[in-house]
Symmetry: D2
Subunit: 325 residues, 4 copies
Amino acid sequence: MNNFGRKFRLSIFGESHGKSVGVTIDGCPPGIPVSEEDFMPDLDRRRSGAKGTTPRQEKDLPEIISGVFNGFSTGAPLTVIFKNEDTRSKDYSKLVEHPRPGHADFTGFKKYKGFNDYRGGGHFSARLTLALVSAGVIAKKIIQPIDIQANLIKVNGNINIDKAIDDAIAKGESVGGIVECQALNIPIGLGEPFFDSVESVISHLVFAIPAIKGIEFGSGFQAAEMYGSEHNDLIIDESGKTKTNYAAGINGGITNGNNLIFRIAVKPTSSIAKDQETFNLKSGKVEHLRIGGRHDVCVALRVPVVLEAVTAIALADFFLLADLD
Amino acid sequence: MNNFGRKFRLSIFGESHGKSVGVTIDGCPPGIPVSEEDFMPDLDRRRSGAKGTTPRQEKDLPEIISGVFNGFSTGAPLTVIFKNEDTRSKDYSKLVEHPRPGHADFTGFKKYKGFNDYRGGGHFSARLTLALVSAGVIAKKIIQPIDIQANLIKVNGNINIDKAIDDAIAKGESVGGIVECQALNIPIGLGEPFFDSVESVISHLVFAIPAIKGIEFGSGFQAAEMYGSEHNDLIIDESGKTKTNYAAGINGGITNGNNLIFRIAVKPTSSIAKDQETFNLKSGKVEHLRIGGRHDVCVALRVPVVLEAVTAIALADFFLLADLD
Amino acid sequence: MNNFGRKFRLSIFGESHGKSVGVTIDGCPPGIPVSEEDFMPDLDRRRSGAKGTTPRQEKDLPEIISGVFNGFSTGAPLTVIFKNEDTRSKDYSKLVEHPRPGHADFTGFKKYKGFNDYRGGGHFSARLTLALVSAGVIAKKIIQPIDIQANLIKVNGNINIDKAIDDAIAKGESVGGIVECQALNIPIGLGEPFFDSVESVISHLVFAIPAIKGIEFGSGFQAAEMYGSEHNDLIIDESGKTKTNYAAGINGGITNGNNLIFRIAVKPTSSIAKDQETFNLKSGKVEHLRIGGRHDVCVALRVPVVLEAVTAIALADFFLLADLD
Amino acid sequence: MNNFGRKFRLSIFGESHGKSVGVTIDGCPPGIPVSEEDFMPDLDRRRSGAKGTTPRQEKDLPEIISGVFNGFSTGAPLTVIFKNEDTRSKDYSKLVEHPRPGHADFTGFKKYKGFNDYRGGGHFSARLTLALVSAGVIAKKIIQPIDIQANLIKVNGNINIDKAIDDAIAKGESVGGIVECQALNIPIGLGEPFFDSVESVISHLVFAIPAIKGIEFGSGFQAAEMYGSEHNDLIIDESGKTKTNYAAGINGGITNGNNLIFRIAVKPTSSIAKDQETFNLKSGKVEHLRIGGRHDVCVALRVPVVLEAVTAIALADFFLLADLD
C-alpha cells in the first residue's frame, strides 16, 4: 500500500499527470526546524535537465500545507505537495491499447480494472520519488549526525559515466547503472529483528523505487564465493569497530556501529527512442511501438538522492523506535 | 518486530536453547486441510544431518496447539510449536564476553542491554527458520496452484556443490552460495505498490533469514549493463506472456503472469572450526577465539526450503489482499 | 497516530488555522464514481451556520488532488483537501499561557514540547472532522446498499432540541447531547475478532471525534440491569433475524445481519461565553479567562454526519477485509 | 484480527476446548523481572469458583515458553501458554444446528463457513481473557508506578452484589453489571491522536472483551446533560491538576496527569439455565433450547481483572511510544 513506517510513517499520493504529487509524514517529532527552502538542495539533485535526463521541466516547488508552525515541526502530520505543471497528456493516449514493454501499463490496467490513470505512468511514475526525496529531507534532520551519501558508480558497466551516456544517446538507447550508498556515524542498536532487520526495511523501501533490480549489503553477492575466515569481520576494539566490514555494519539485522554500505542495480529506462515490437491488445497482433513523451536515457543518474532518502527514512523509523542509551 | 503480513500475518517466537520455537499464523482462511504430517516434507528438507550441515539433531516435530479443528483450519489463529531438545548450552557460556565475529552476539548484547538469551544465538538463531518453514507450508496451500521451487545453484562459486563442501570441510572453513527461486502459475495482479511491491515484500522477508547478503530479481545486477532495447520484455500475446523475462514476472511491483524468478546470496556460516582473533570485551584485548558448539559448514544447503517458505508467505498475503477477477 | 484502517486506510492532516485540512484514502477500490460535488451534501450537513453553531463561515470546498481520473477512483490514493480561509488567529494568541479548560491546550503544549500549533486548537480542532466526513462519503459508496443514519436525539437531556439550544444561548452556556446511529442492510460476517470486533473499531473511531464521552451498543448500559432471559435476542428465522435486537446486530464482534445501532454522548462545548477561573501558567495564579473566538453552543448539532462517516469508514474496512459469500 | 498494539504488541491464540490458550507479547523491553509466579495473583482473581461463576475448574497454570532468560525479559517475544484440561466437549455437539441466542455460534458459523471450532465458544470463548490477563501482568510492570484498579460497582442495578447474585441463581437467570476502572499516577502526554486517543485505544481493547455493551469516560453519558461551565475542569496548579475530573484525566485524547477513570457495562451471561425458544437451522423451526455446559451466572464478577489488564496494555503501548520528558 501507500503507507510505510511504524513511528516515522509516510503516506504518499499523486500521479504523474494529475494535479499533484505529495507526502504526509506522520510521527515527525516536534521542534525540528523546517522550511520550504530546506527541500531545495535534494530536490535539485533529483531534478531532470542534465545530459541523460528527461527534458520534462518541472519547477518542483514544495508547498508545506500542514505540520509546520513558526518554522518548526509541530508533531502533527507534515504534508508537502508539488503541483504538476509541465504535463503533456496527449502523448500517452494510445498506450492504453498498446502497453509499453517494461512499464506498468499492462499490470496497472489489469490490477485496477482499467480505471488506473495511465498518463505518464500515473501513480507508478518515477515522479512519485519527489515524495520520497521530501520525506528524506525530514528524515535526514531527525537522524543527525548520521551522514548518508549515495553515488552512481557505474553506468552500463562503465566507470566513465559521461562516455556511457553519450554512447546511449548516440544509439537511441537507454542504460542502467549501479548506485552505492554509505551511511556514517551510525549508532549501535538500530534495527528490529526478527522481521525488521536493517536490511529488510531498507530493501523494502529500495524496491519501491521504480527500476531497481537488485540490492546487496557489504560483501553482497561476492560473499557467496568467500570462506568464513575471510568474511568474518574481526572486532578490534570495545566500540565494536571491525577490521573489515563485509557485514555492512549490520549483525543479526542490527547496526553494529560500523558504516552501513550497500549497492543497488538500476535497470535501463524502459522508454526508449527506438522502435519496439510488442503486442497490441486492440488489434490482437504484435505491432511496432514508438514511444513518445519525454524520458530519461539513464534514470540511474537521478537515483542517488532518492536512495539517500529511503535510507534516511528507514533509519529515522529505527531511530525513533529504538531505546538507545 | 516479530510480526509480519497484513492479512496473512505471522507472529514468531522462541530461542535456540529455550523451551521452544513457534509461530502463530493469523488470517489463515478457514477450511484449509491441515495436519501435523503436512509439515514433515518441508521440515525434513530444512533439517540438518546431511554432509555440510550441523550435527545438532532435533526431531523437529511440529505440534499444532490452536486453529485447527477436525482436520481443517478454523479461521482462528493457527499456532505451531517445536520443543527444543538437543541443546547443550554450556558450549556458549564464554561467548558473552568474547563475541563471535559475524554473529549477533555483540549487537544483541548492546541492543537488549545484556538481557538477551545468548545461548546458541538465542532469538537470532537460524533455528527460528523452523517457524518460517511452518508458515510456508500453510502459505503454499493457500496459493495453489502457484508452484514455488528454490535450488542451491552454486556453493563457493562452484556448481559442483559436493566438491565445494568437501573442500570446505577439509580446510576447517565454511562456505556460502547462491540460491535461486522460481514461482510458476502466478496470477496477474499480485502486489500492492507504491510501497508493497512484490520485490519489496519478498526482499523484506528474505533479509529476515539469517546470513543473506543480497537479492536480485530477473536480470538483477546484470541489468545495469544492458541496453533498454535488450532488457525490455516484449509482450507476445494477450495474456501478457513476454518473449524474455528480465522483469522476473513483475512490472511496477505487480505480477504480470510470467514466472517470478530471483536469486539470493548466502554468506559463509560465521561459526568456523578455525581459530579467529577478535576482541575480548572482558580482557580488553584482541584474543584467539575457538568456537565450540555444532554448526553448518554451509548453511546455504538448508536455505532453499526457507526461501520457498518466505516467498509463499509473501504471495499468500498478496493473494488474500488482492481483488483478483 | 494519524492513520487508521487496514485495507481502507486514512491518513489525515491539517490544522484549524493552517493552510488546509485534508485526508488521503488508501485502499479505495478502483471504479467508484467520485466527483467533488458528491461531497457537498454531507459537508453541508457538517457546516456551521445554523442556530447553536459557530459563526465561523468556511466555504469548505473539497479539492480532489489525486486518485480520481475521468470521474472514477483509480485504486491509487485519493486525496481531498480543504483550504482554510476564514481564520482569525489573533483571537488565540493569549491562550498559550492561559490554557482553556476542557481543551487540549495544556496537553498539546506538554506533549509537543511547546511546538504545537495552538491557533484554534490546531490539529486538535473539530475542523479535522472535515477529513472524516470526506472519507465517509467515499466509504458510503463502497458499502452500498448499507444505509447509515445518525440523529441527534437529545440536547441537554431534552428531546425538544430547539428549546434546549435557546436556553443555552440565553445563559451564555454550552450544552451536550446524545446522538444515535443506525445502519441497515448489513451483511452477516463483518468484523475481525478477537481484537477487531465491530464494536472495537467503531468505538476507536468514535473516540477520535472531539468531545465524545461515551458509547453504548444496543441495550448498552441498560444491559447491566437486565436478566439474561430478557437480553438474549431469540433467533426467529434462518437468515438470523432476531425477535429483539439488544445485541445491536453484533455477536462475538461479528455482524449478524440485524441492524447495527449505537448511541454516543457528546459533552458541552468547552469554549463558553462565560468567564472561567483557571490557572495562568505565566502568572502562576488562578485567573479569570474569557474565551474569544467563535464557537458552537452545541457541537452535538454537527456530530451526526461525522458519526455516520466514522461508521461508514469502519464498515468499509471490514467490508473490504471480509471474504463474504 | 488477533494482533494488537504498535510497540507493545500482542498476538493471541487458542480455543476454549482446544489444546491451549496463549499470548505472545512482542516489544516487551528487556530487563523486566518475570516469573511464572508473577502471573498467579491476577490469574487467581480471574479464575472461576466463587459464587456466581462457572463450576468449570481449570488450574490455569501459565507456562512461559519464550522471551525470558535468567528471570528477566530478553526483549525477544514473550510467549505464555495455558493448557486446557477440564474440557467436556460433548456438551456442545448439538449447538451447531441450534445456535445459542446471544452467543457467536451463528455468526462464527457463517463467517468461518462452518469450520470454526464451536466447542465452548471456541476462539470466541471468555477463556481467551487468560491471554489478556497475562499480557496485563507484564504491562503493569512496564508502566509502574501507574496503579490501576477496577471494581464491580453494581450487579443488576444493585450495589449489594451478593444479594443480586443470590437472586439470579434462585431464578435460573444470569445478570450483568457495571465495572469501574481507575488509573493513578499517570504521566502527562500519553495518547497519540488524532486516531489513537487514550479513549480510542482503551475502548478498542475493552470491546474485545466478550459481553461488553458500553463504555463511558469521566462524566460519560451524564455529560450530555451538563452545561459547559459545570463540565469544564478548571486547572488549579501548574502541574495541570484540575478542580473536577469530568474529563477523566484526558484532553484532546492525551493524558493530563489527573486520574484516568471510566466505567463499562457488562451484559448478563448469554448462557442461562432456563429454556429458550430460538430457531433450529436443521429443523427449520423455532424450538426449545436448553443449554448444557457450565457457565457463569454473572460474568461481570470476573471482569475487573480483565479490565485492568486491557487498560495496562493500552497504557504500556502509549508509554513505550511516547517521548516523555
